[in-house]
């Protein structure tokens, strides 16, 4: 069992074991493991699906069936920074489509694709729960609210210039954000290291470590 993922980082092997143990049925760990596999392989590769299948005791076909149902399990290479721009109703009303166009322009990356240098992937997102701070976008699922096309463009340029290893919502919000849905409270130092939600059990990092 540890065989199939023996090349995974030690931390992720431990996380995998913890995940599987935390459910009454090991198949429940499938989605968490797909996130871990993304950190290991940069996206949900065929090899990753075979590994996850073995870990939870189902066929690779079943893993693919599940992975392909959800938008956050990327089965194509994804850039260092996945920029997901919301254009659902409130963001649409307040300029989300223009923000998306601006991000496409600034990164030279049409929605649904990845820039040639592998820096950015750009996608249209459906509602990300930031309607009070619309329009909004996420970078590696870290949120920035109250954007304008110009600020969004500045944001991706900043990402290209500074190439942060850990993406922090609070930092980006302070630099480029505007109206928020609500007071976020004190800043967090935990952020995303790839196109996976920054959540410690699934892999995340403290900035500045």
């Amino acid at each position: 069992m540890t065989n199939v993922i023996s090349h995974w980082s030690r931390a992720n092997q431990e996380r995998a074991a913890t995940m599987i143990a935390s459910y009454p049925d090991r198949r429940s760990a499938l989605m968490p493991l797909l996130y871990l596999a993304t950190l290991e392989h940069e996206f949900v590769t065929e090899v990753a699906m075979v590994e996850v299948a073995e870990l939870v005791g189902i066929t690779p076909a079943q893993v693919q069936s599940v992975a392909s149902f959800y938008t956050m399990f990327k089965r194509e290479p994804v850039g260092d920074y996945l920029v997901s721009v919301c254009t659902s109703i409130t963001c649409h009303l307040l300029g989300g489509d223009e923000v998306l166009a601006s991000v496409e322009d600034a990164t030279q990356t049409p929605r649904g694709s990845t820039s040639e240098d592998g820096r950015f992937s750009v996608e249209r997102a459906e509602c990300i729960g930031a309607c009070g701070g619309a329009p909004a976008l996420q970078v590696n699922y870290e949120l920035i609210e109250g954007l304008t096309p110009d600020k969004a463009s500045a944001l991706v340029k900043w990402l290209a210039d500074t190439t942060p290893a850990v993406v922090l919502a609070d930092e980006m919000q302070q630099l480029f954000g505007g109206q928020r849905s609500f007071d976020w409270g004190p800043t967090d130092s935990e952020g995303a290291t790839g196109a996976v939600p920054a959540f410690a059990p699934y892999g995340s990092s403290e900035a500045g470590r």
Binding site: S22, Y23, P24, D25, R27, S28, A29, L30, M31, P32, L34, Y35, I58, S65, V66, F69, Y70, T71, M72, F73, S84, T87, S88, I89, T90, H92, L93, L94, A125, E126, C127, I128, G129, A130, C131, G132, G133, A134, Q138, Y141, E142, L143, A169, Q179, S181, F182, D183, W184, G185, P186, D188, E190, A192, P197, A198, F199, A200, P201, Y202, S204
Partner: protein, 430 residues
């Protein structure tokens, strides 16, 4: 307006409302202590039933009644639904990020009442901050003895596991959520059986929304009757509303229901930016049929009044559209959302929502035909027969019918604008 339950702490202590220190300093976990030391599980469930709280996730089914459906078999599971994804809603996000202990305490008390020893919180993958804050709360609560083995030295033990979604709105539907939690495609299950009878791992399971669960500590401390006495009879308690769109003061508001929509939009929400005219609003999220000022400004904000006027409070998302709004484009945004989020298992939703999207896109790009209006209505009718309220459906779950709401709304209220966009009105044809 003066009465708040859910947001009291985060408003008073914006700097640290999510920490266990602040939580304990403001009465946190008193309700849990009361429950496990002074009350039987049945007592707690009785208070929840007495509160008349209707589920805050959208369907509005009374939480206490739902709890009563559990058969006498174990194990049982509690699943907290934080897959908030309805366009327009962001209140669960705030409750999770800003007062995670309140949510957690609610989950612990509910688990005690329901005889649950493992609870799950299903948080949408796009809410990592909420997941982080809740995980920290779980860790803090475990260290403090509010969670884990023999909680507060009682016989009651509980683990709470956070499970992140993978990006699928449909997983907000409780049976789709359970499939997802089992490592399957998030396709809604056939009902019956309902989750209370056969839920997670085919065991009795209660799925409750974040806002519902966040109310449980207050109800436990203050009693169900106290909760029931707040607000109109069948819309008891406070309700979190997310107000967004063309509005001066977007945000989440915890209100007592019973005010008019006029008050909500113009007083609570501060009115329309630039004093522009109000064109329409969605009273309860993208799934809800629209309201318009000439008919609905003086309708009351209650579950029943909105229902009787052909729409719903839903998960509490109010999306305001001013007079400049292109209603076809707005409806298209919503239809596209549902087409994108359709699970695809049943025919009318899979094919119908995409068809509606394609026709709207053709109209928006200048290729509309006059017969497209009837086509839009008829395709909608084949998903939701009669286009009535509450909706009938040819589908397995309500997602497909939801996509018809904006279509029928714009044709009902703004037909001239749709025809104008098509550009071949009968007048033009003469």
């Amino acid at each position: 307006m003066t009465e708040t339950i859910l947001t009291t702490r985060m408003v008073a202590h914006p700097a640290d409302s999510h920490t266990i220190d602040r939580y304990l300093a403001t009465g946190g976990y008193d309700a849990l202590r009361k429950a496990v030391t002074e009350m039987t599980p049945e007592d707690v469930a009785g208070e929840v039933k007495a509160s008349n709280m209707r589920g805050r996730g959208g369907a509005g089914f009374p939480t206490g009644v739902k709890w009563g459906f559990l058969p006498d078999t174990y194990p049982r599971y509690l699943v907290v639904n934080c897959d908030e994804s309805e366009p327009g809603t962001f209140n669960d996000r705030q409750l999770t990020e800003r007062d995670p202990h309140q949510l957690l305490e609610g989950a612990i008390i509910s688990s005690y009442a329901l005889g649950v020893s493992q609870a799950f919180v299903y948080i949408r993958g796009e809410y990592p901050k909420g997941a982080r804050r809740l995980q920290r709360a779980i860790d803090e609560a475990t260290a403090a003895g509010f969670l884990g083995e023999n909680i507060l030295d009682s016989d009651f033990s509980l683990t709470v596991t956070i499970h992140l979604g993978g990006g699928a709105y449909i997983c907000g539907e409780e049976t789709a959520l359970l499939n997802s939690l089992e490592g399957r495609r998030g396709e809604p299950r056939l009902k019956p059986p309902f989750p209370a009878i056969e839920g997670l791992y085919a065991k009795p399971t209660i799925v409750n929304n974040v806002e519902s669960i966040s109310n449980i500590p207050w109800i436990t401390l203050n009693g169900g009757n106290a909760y029931a006495s707040i607000g109109p009879e069948r819309s008891a308690g406070t309700k979190m509303l997310s107000i967004s769109g063309h509005i001066n003061k977007p945000g989440n508001y915890e209100i007592v229901m019973g005010m008019t929509w006029r008050e909500l939009i113009y007083e609570v929400g501060g009115g329309i930016p630039g004093d522009k005219g109000l064109k329409a609003w969605i009273p309860g999220g993208a799934s809800a049929p629209w309201f318009i000022p000439s008919l609905h400004l003086d309708t009351l904000v209650t579950f029943d009044d909105v229902g009787q006027n052909g729409s719903m409070i839903g998960a509490g998302a109010v999306v305001v559209m001013d007079e400049t709004t292109d209603v076809v484009a707005a409806a298209h945004s919503i239809v596209r959302f549902f087409a994108h989020e359709s699970c695809g298992q049943c025919t009318p939703c899979r094919e119908g929502t995409s068809w509606l999207q394609a026709v709207l896109e053709r109209i928006m790009s200048g290729g509309g035909r006059l017969e497209d209006i009837d086509l839009l209505l008829d395709v909608s009718d084949n998903i939701s027969p009669g286009l009535k309220w509450p909706p009938a459906m040819t589908t397995i779950c309500p997602l497909g019918p939801s996509a018809t709401a904006p279509v029928s709304s714009i044709i009902k209220y703004f037909r001239d604008e749709v025809e104008a966009m098509i550009g071949t009105t009968e007048v033009a044809n003469v």
